[in-house]
Symmetry: C2
Subunit: 341 residues, 2 copies
């Protein structure tokens, strides 16, 4: 039976196996698998795009799993089907993975209306992100109408998640300084919504954190992102919510805020333009990544790189001269003749 048909077909064990098989195919590095995966994606694409894509980021310990479990079960009770994917760049080093331990979401992970997939555990961040985007499309084609992409606050993974979701949520603890870290990493700026978790443990600290983050969002919004411009009632202004994932307090208010965001984004045509922009950015990111890989694998480059690197490090060769020599060498090697420039 055709894999694409099984994916877009009726929910159940067969669909679930087909999804798993498709994602394994997407994550394979074999050339023939890659060709099959491309074919599959092209078949599935007309069935994608109807889900709401929700990104959730936060440092380890902030309570992401607890929150996603509570949110996922709430959404399923409302009639949704929920897929949860993860991007964890550190798993490519450790071999481990967030979500790898499914007991972290013990009820959601066994639910028939949920699909949970851990982070790919090999590849660069760009590669991991690409596989997760593609897995997201598979889940959408299978009719999951809420796709949650989770990431820990490591490196550039938040940017990758914000770049593939309709709404990006930052989870924070009510600790002083956490907001500055998020601002520094450029993550606060990406947030459509900030959630302060564990607000029940220290209500005063949570209130202070909320005031600080609200003020920071206002100041950050004054420059830069035109989406945050004022005097336009159709525009969303980033909000700060307090909740307790453990006590399942605030989940409904959270989903209401998501709904309001979604309504404004769709009404303003910004949902579609955000997705277009994301798809093109993704294409260019993959192109850049492919160009770099081809460069590093070119025999002429492999032969020259160690020596030129050494000369640049020791100040014997200008870096820009070394770059030009390497580029010329690659083009000569590829063309089998002298370089045009």
């Amino acid at each position: 039976m055709n894999l694409a048909q099984a994916i877009v077909g009726a929910p159940g064990a067969r669909q679930r196996r087909a999804i798993a098989k498709a994602i394994t195919l997407l994550e394979s590095t074999r050339g023939d698998h890659r060709a099959q995966a491309d074919e599959l994606l092209t078949e599935l694409l007309p069935h994608t795009g109807k889900a709401f894509r929700l990104g959730i980021s936060g440092v380890p310990g902030v309570g992401k799993s607890t929150f996603i479990e509570a949110l996922g079960l709430y959404l399923i009770a409302q009639g949704h089907r929920v897929a949860v994917l993860a991007i964890d760049p550190s798993s490519t080093v450790s071999g481990g993975s967030i979500l790898g331990d499914k007991t972290r979401m013990e009820h959601l992970s066994v639910h028939a209306q949920a699909y949970i997939r851990p982070s790919p555990s090999s590849g660069t961040l760009g590669g991991v992100a690409a596989k997760t985007r593609e897995s997201m499309l598979v889940c959408e084609a299978a009719g999951y109408d809420v796709v949650i992409v989770e990431t820990v606050g490591v490196g550039q993974s938040e940017t990758a998640v914000a770049g593939m979701t309709d709404m990006f949520v930052l989870m924070q603890l009510p600790n002083a300084g956490d907001d500055l870290q998020a601002i520094k990493k450029g993550v606060m700026e990406l947030a459509d919504l900030v959630v302060i978790n564990k607000a029940d443990l220290d209500p005063d600290a949570a209130t202070r954190a909320r005031a600080q983050i609200t003020s920071a969002l206002r100041i950050l919004g004054q420059h830069g992102n035109p989406d945050h411009a004022h005097h336009d009632a159709t525009l969303w202004h980033p909000q700060v919510l307090q909740l307790s994932a453990l006590k399942v307090q605030g989940v409904e208010a959270f989903w209401q805020a998501v709904g309001e965001f979604r309504r404004l984004q769709e009404a303003g045509g910004r949902l579609q333009s955000r997705r277009k922009h994301q798809a093109l950015a993704w294409m260019w990111e993959r192109i850049d990544s492919g160009l770099k890989r081809a460069f590093r694998q070119a025999p002429a480059v492999k032969a020259l790189l160690p020596q030129l690197t050494n000369e640049v490090e020791h100040g014997l060769l200008a870096a820009s001269t070394a770059a030009r020599r390497l580029l010329d060498a690659m083009h000569e090697g590829t063309r089998g003749g002298p370089s045009a420039n």
Copy 2:
């Protein structure tokens, strides 16, 4: 007479003309000029590296020119020779340039011991930065022992300047929120020293700003940059100074702080490792830029790109599939045969 010899030769009108000629050559886009420029750089390189490279960044109106004029004249009085270069990405759009109006530094610009060069007014930020780096090497070979690279707070230009200098100074106004903007842009994190200018206009605001920035630097330094680690007496901790460039107050204290930073960096071997790291990063940045240019100029890519872009935008083709097709097309076009993958 040989250009390189004139540059490393005695200071004076001839040297000044040779520098100008060399920089014009570096900024040329003609292929034969580029080859000559590479030759020249290789000749000059053994004479470079002895200057202290100081980066200064700040938003328009912060008083950079006034400060650099005051600092430059102070340094010349101490026996230094001072070169001032600029990176202004906006000049590539407007055709204008910071430093273009030399009357902004009316005394420094006419001084025999100073060399001032405006920002290259064409090219990408990467290209502009590369030319400025090369110009910096020319100035060093000519015996300028303090090279100041100035930039306005636009786009990624601060990162470029921090990536080519030994010390990166951020100029701020004593306004609430300015520090958050700098943190957001990742510039605060790059700063080895923060200067609050116009401190005399509102001493209370300046004191508040200093306390806020000091606190932010401390919090930001707790994570990330190992150079900011504590419990090591040879390590520099980013400082915050108040000054008034207009009244020439605080310039000497500024230069003392620079000297202390330089002493610690040299003693710890960090100056050399920073420069090595910068040179390699520059090489890779130029390689990436060259790869992208070659991709965009490839006939097969030019032929396919509009259609594939359109299909990706409209959700008819997965972005990663489009990327692979374009990369394959480029390689086939170059090799004159079918792609290996």
